[in-house]
């Protein structure tokens, strides 16, 4: 190990073009490795989808190559940041060790006798069995209304069978479960063997005391057939059902969901509903039994009772809203699990839905390979398939700032950019279409994780797909149709080739638990730290964000960069000095550089917007004494520091790091372009100027509106606004950079143009519309 201090301070020798070149080089490497890693991850995910044929060799090769790329990414990030992220090596090592253990046939870590569903998931299948793992995964990871519970692990089963006293641990686990589900509830105990083996019947424990539960565990293990190893045993909450039944997500005879429902006191009297597989999940046929008018129905009303909208309730056991919720949850389960399911469910009298057990159904029969919709119904074509499949629903435009928490279940989400914060939308959407973004981006991986059909980079999608319109998104065929195309949806039903019991599938699935999930999605949250990286995806995303932030600050952190080597740009409306790290300037350029000698593509784009005719007002900015007094002591110290004054562009042919100190505003543009959209990034940071508080707030809001309109993911803190735009095409980013140039010119004058709050929105939209001829409208 080297004895040099890890966090070496930047020295004068690191201030020249070599240092800047090395930073760019490391950053470029991070982008390339990120893209390569995401492509391998996408291949592994596709293999999990079942239509691919793969083998153990593929898994080993993918895991090793992925590990190499992630390790090099961590290395480059540390090279870029003077070893500020050494702890990321430890996280990498941990994840890699877990994956290696799984590949070598291990992975069922030693554990206590019980494991609760909130700590289990597919990667704990060896400990909790398939059925518990499934319930845990759907409930905890995907947020479906699934019964909570815990498992008696193989270690627990062994101890139990050998007569060890587990009562205390059992009592504690029951208490924790009842705390999670709100109160003590009856429970059901069941065997939870590995793989697809039939777990057998459940034992209901109405009074869940330790004694009764212990007896049920014993009974379950005694009833387990054969000489083989005893399975894990699961225990799940049950609820006092007012109505319960089974739902099949795909009834082959009707091509719909088929729901059977009965009330506990009359199990023989069953009602049936065939429900469309598309939101809003309307019933197409139902078989409802006649009932006495005074019978109280599962939701506590009588058939002639009034509903909030003034109608009679009717005599169906399941009111329409319950039926739709059940259908939505069942379809989400089918989508996540990759094949149609038969699901046992129940509603409490208060409308609490619980999916209690799931069983895969045989996939639909031969549906032919040639799939096409009616060409006259085509609304849009193109884009890139981020997750295959087809789904239909009503179009909902997602606001750039939206996170998806309130997104309507089963709707088709249409957004401008494939931003990581749309992950929440993917929990609820039937399909996702974006105007920019690629299948290599983070959101694409999340779409695959959730198996939501997703089409990215479909230009003009917001305009072509009107809000409220019902459409069918065929992500596989990269086409969107008007209306609901039942034939197409049926042909794209998942599950044709999936055989989840194959050892390779189980292995892949377990490995992917440590590779794919992205938990660190929000760089502004306090939890966005290296020690919270749990998967390769977390590490890659964290490294990418940190590298972008590092570059955005290099000129603050290495203020000597421009001193010796920079050349002066002439002929622009701003005085900019340029430090070329390679290929950014015409070799013939001297100490003064004309605009036509700039070879750096992002700088050229920026300058064309900055110096566009009409971009500058000749009027001096109007500052009042109040502005000056209000701004003193609050403005960014760099903006006020005379030694830091001046505008510096560090360039190469396709990279730009530009710091501008424009009057009292200070902004940074960091852009890296290539022909691989997955590697393209633009970062923009704007920090306060000298003005009174209210104007600074307006300005921050205005910049936010404009950046969001340009497709940036934006955050603001006080009058610091920063936006990131990733995974867009080179042409798109050229346009964006041009607009940032125009924004820079515009921003000098905007304080005085905004005398009241209403001006903010008006000015923001006006600015965006100026550029709409090239760039499209805002969401």
């Amino acid at each position: 190990m080297a004895s040099a201090p890890w966090r070496a301070k930047h020295t004068a020798a690191e201030s020249g073009p070599d240092s800047a070149r090395s930073l760019f080089h490391n950053f470029r490497r991070i982008l390339e490795q990120n893209t390569a890693a995401l492509e391998i991850m996408a291949d592994m995910e596709r293999a999990q989808g079942g239509e691919y044929v793969f083998d153990q060799t593929f898994l080993e090769k993918s895991a090793h190559e992925l590990g190499r790329l992630v390790q090099r990414t961590v290395h480059c990030l540390n090279g870029l940041s003077a070893n500020s992220h050494l702890d990321l090596y430890d996280r990498f090592q941990e994840v890699r060790d877990r994956i290696e253990t799984i590949l070598s046939g291990g992975g069922a870590e030693a554990t206590g006798p019980f494991l609760s569903f909130d700590r289990a998931g597919w990667d704990a299948e060896a400990l909790v069995g398939a059925r518990c793992a499934l319930l845990a995964e759907l409930g905890q990871r995907f947020g479906l209304p699934v019964a909570d519970g815990f498992a008696l692990t193989p270690a627990g089963v062994k101890a139990f069978l050998e007569g060890f006293d587990l009562d205390e641990a059992l009592a504690a686990e029951l208490r924790r479960l009842f705390r999670r589900v709100g109160r003590q509830r009856p429970v059901a105990v069941f065997a939870s063997p590995a793989g697809e083996r039939d777990p057998g019947a459940e034992i209901l424990v109405s009074e869940p005391t330790v004694e009764h539960v212990r007896a049920a565990l014993r009974q379950t293990l005694d009833a387990w057939p054969g000489q083989g190893e005893a399975p894990a045993v699961g225990l799940r909450e049950t609820q006092e059902a007012s109505v319960r039944g089974l739902v099949r997500t795909l009834a082959p005879e009707s091509g719909t969901l088929a729901v059977a429902a009965s009330v506990p006191e009359r199990p023989g009297e069953e009602e049936q509903y065939l429900v469309r597989r598309v939101a809003p999940f309307t019933p197409v046929r139902s078989h409802i039994l006649a009932k006495p008018v005074d019978r109280v129905l599962p939701d506590g009303l009588k058939s002639l009772g009034g509903t909030p909208d003034g109608a009679y309730r009717g005599s169906a056991l399941l009111p329409p809203a319950w039926l739709a919720r059940l259908a939505g949850a069942a379809m989400a389960a089918e989508r996540i699990l990759g094949r149609p399911q038969e699901i046992a469910w129940s509603f409490s009298a208060r409308g609490r839905l619980r999916l209690e057990s799931l069983r895969p159904l045989d996939p639909p029969g031969d549906r032919g390979l040639e799939i096409s919709g009616d060409p006259s119904l085509v609304l849009a074509r193109g884009g890139e398939t981020a997750q295959s499949g087809a789904a239909a629903g009503q179009v909902v435009h997602v606001a750039e700032a939206g996170t998806g928490e309130d997104f309507p279940e089963g709707a088709v989400a249409v957004a401008r950019a494939a931003l990581p914060r749309l992950s929440g939308v993917l929990r609820r959407a039937a399909a996702l279409v974006t105007e920019t973004g690629t299948a290599a981006g983070h959101l694409a991986t999340v779409a695959r994780e959730f198996r939501v059909p997703a089409l990215f980079g479909l230009r003009g999608a917001l305009e072509l797909l009107r809000s409220g319109e019902t459409v069918t998104v065929d992500a596989t065929g990269r086409t969107i149709y008007a209306g609901v195309l039942e034939g197409l949806l049926s042909a794209r039903t998942p599950g044709l080739d999936l055989d989840p019991s194959d050892p390779e599938y189980l292995l892949l699935r377990r490995m992917l638990r440590h590779i794919l999930p992205l938990r660190l999605t929000d760089p502004s949250s306090p939890g966005f730290r290296a020690d919270n990286c749990r998967t390769y995806h977390d590490i890659l995303h964290f490294a990418h964000e940190q590298a972008m932030a590092e570059l955005a600050h290099i000129q603050d952190r290495r203020p000597g960069l421009h001193a010796a080597h920079a050349r002066r740009l002439v002929g622009s409306s701003m005085d900019i000095r340029i430090l070329d790290t390679g290929g950014g300037l015409d070799p013939a350029a001297g100490s003064e550089v004309r605009k036509d000698q700039v070879r750096c593509e992002p700088l050229r784009a920026f300058l064309s917007g900055l110096d566009a005719p009409g971009a500058w007002s000749s009027e001096p900015a109007e500052l009042s004494l109040r502005d000056v007094l209000g701004g003193l002591g609050q403005a960014d110290p760099l903006a006020m520091d005379p030694s830091a004054a001046g505008n510096l562009a560090i360039v190469s042919d396709l990279s730009l790091n530009l710091s501008l100190r424009l009057g009292y505003h200070f902004s940074v543009v960091d852009a890296h372009l290539s022909d691989a959209p997955g590697q393209n990034t633009v970062y923009f940071r704007f920090v306060g100027g000298l003005a009174e508080e209210i104007r600074r707030q307006r300005r921050a809001r205005l910049i936010r509106i404009i950046l969001e309109g340009l497709g940036f993911l934006v955050e603001s803190k006080g009058d610091l606004v920063f936006g990131r735009l990733k995974a867009a095409s080179r042409e798109d980013l050229d346009l964006v950079l041009e607009r940032l140039g125009a924004l820079t010119a515009f921003s000098r004058q905007m304080d005085t143009a905004m005398t009241e709050d209403a001006d903010v929105q008006r000015l923001g939209l006006a600015f965006l519309q100026l550029g709409d001829t090239g760039g499209g409208g805002a969401a």
Binding site: D43, A47, V53, D55, Q56, F58, L369, D497, P503
Partner: protein, 132 residues
């Protein structure tokens, strides 16, 4: 039906891959498409079958435990020159692809591959109905 016409004798396919999962996946898929399929994880047994029986197509992995798929390909073409050979491999390089073609392979498919892709490849080589 996607495979050959029902009246014609069924085309015969041999699959060789030392990873059982590949055989397990390919065999039913080709059977469903109307072909007669034999699948092997052992190259000695597979070679013995090729020497006994005529197969219209052979699908073989290139890199298997203890076996050289390229050698298997060469032997198949010696014994039965009109048998079409499709090579599947997880170690696709331009060089191995070129060598496979030089030794008479009809096509070269990199793992992982889609079932529909390999079905299409075999339909092309055996002249079955194209699609649908």
């Amino acid at each position: 039906m996607n495979g050959p016409a029902d009246t014609a004798p069924r085309k015969r396919i041999l699959v060789l891959d030392d990873e059982p999962i590949v055989c397990k996946r390919l065999k039913p898929a080709f059977q469903k498409a109307g072909y007669e399929v034999e699948a092997f994880t052992d190259s000695v047994q597979a070679m013995a079958r090729v020497e006994q029986e005529h197969f219209d197509a052979v699908i073989t992995d290139l890199k298997m435990e203890g076996v050289d798929g390229m050698h298997f390909l060469t032997r198949v073409k010696e014994v039965s020159p009109d048998t079409a050979v499709v090579v599947i491999t997880g170690f696709a390089t331009l060089e191995t692809a070129k060598e496979s073609f030089r030794k008479g392979a009809f096509d070269f498919v990199a793992k992982p591959f889609k079932l529909s892709d390999i079905l299409d490849t075999v339909r092309r080589v055996l002249g079955g109905e194209s699609r649908g």
